[in-house]
């Protein structure tokens, strides 16, 4: 029953995004701009080093995820739809699960565009494309549950725009370190390293999924 509700919320999110894709467009534009600005700031010689390019990409992804998640919840607040969903039986679990699923799909699209831009603009060579894909999937999976968790906590707070990055970025440090190292390992041909970091990312994703389902229903207002 809960799974069905989660699917309904996720599909509803996808339909809302298709009708008005401001979350996706702003996240993709943001990632592209960040990659360009960051590469200019560190210089072309440094920006196409695997470790630096990976760090720039995942930092941009983290900020894009904050943007997309905040936009998703703002839509609920603008339409006053949140209270109705929360009033439904099982609505609290469903909104967490549904939002995480929808955000994961959205971030996957952002990662594809942002990753392609990084590869082309920074002239990056990738030694192990399959491993890079595995790390990218694991990285996206580890970002979304944390984002939804923290945006849900800060939902009704004033100055939440500033508060969410303050709260979420320190918590994301292990995931950012793992995703950066895993991406750099895949780009430079270290298969074992890439898979180890991807495994750590999946472990973080599982921890935050369980944590989110356990405590987010209590935090949603």
């Amino acid at each position: 029953m809960t799974l069905r509700r989660i699917r309904i919320i996720a599909v509803r999110e996808a339909l809302a995004e298709r009708g008005q894709p401001d979350g996706l467009i702003s996240a993709v534009t943001f990632v592209a701009t960040m990659i360009l600005v960051e590469s200019l700031a560190v210089g072309p010689l440094a920006a196409n080093q695997p470790a630096i390019a990976a760090a720039l990409f995942w930092i941009a992804m983290a900020f894009a995820a904050i943007l997309a998640t905040s936009r998703s919840f703002e839509r609920e607040l603008e339409d006053d739809a949140l209270s109705a969903i929360l009033a439904l039986p099982g609505g609290r679990d469903a909104i967490y699960g549904g939002k995480v699923l929808a955000l994961t799909a959205l971030l996957a699209l952002v990662a594809i565009v942002g990753g392609a831009l990084s590869l082309v603009l920074l002239s990056l060579g990738v030694a192990l494309p399959g491993h890079l894909l595995t790390v990218a999937i694991a990285g996206v999976l580890s970002l979304s549950p944390v984002m939804v968790l923290f945006v849900a906590i800060a939902l009704r707070l004033r100055s939440r725009g500033a508060l969410v990055p303050i709260l979420v970025l320190p918590v994301l440090v292990p995931q950012l370190v793992a995703a950066t190292n895993g991406t750099a390992a895949a780009a430079s041909g270290d298969a074992a390293g890439a898979l180890a970091w991807a495994g750590l990312l999946v472990a973080f994703a599982l921890v935050y999924w369980v944590l989110g389902f356990t405590i987010v229903p209590a935090a949603l207002e």
């Binding site: 707070l157 709260l167 918590v171 921890v207 944590l211 209590a218 935090a219």
Partner: protein
Amino acid sequence: MISTAAKTTTALRARPFLGAASVVALFVALWMALVWSPPDAAMGNVVRILYVHVANAWLAYLAFVVVFLASVAYLWTKRLVFDAIAVASAEIGVLFTGLTLVLGSIWARPTWGVWWSWEPRLITTAVMFAMYVGYLLVRNLSDDLERRATRAAVLGIVLVVDVPIVHLSVTWMNALHQLPSVLRPDLSPTLDPSMLASLIAMTIAFTFLYAYLMTARVDIERRRQARVLEARA
């Protein structure tokens, strides 16, 4: 009920004794750390900062684990006393994490040659400090007592994830910071017995200090909660 906040509780009755125990234990521990324990073979007298640095770090861990336990208890029971315990412990934890960073930096200068190094233990500790400053920020942005407590409890549960990360960061990654000297996986401390005894004495003294500060801060928070509830009534 919150109206009983100002009543004399066991914790309040124990406060003067905890204060006295803290002062006595701190004097004994300082004597052991500064006079009784020997200088280190490599670092000389600089090693004496270890006793306060490690005791500070222990207190930070303890405080944030208490925040976690109080947060779970609040969500379970919805009793505001647990919220008061959580905020008191978080504030003390932030204070002692800040002191840990400062003392570590002072110790790093003569031993590593730099005030700060980008290495895992330092970064994860700084991240933990930033996380709990964020926790206190979240608390201050809400006026509704129950909503603030619920939100803070959820955050208090999530943030504790960083405590084992901080402790284990030196064993997971190549680090400039030394490996744990006491809380080791093989449970065999690597310190000289007199140094270990001094460190344990300082840790006990700091734990008394924590208990004393907690009773004082929880009392203040309970009075504040009572005022809010009375105004609401």
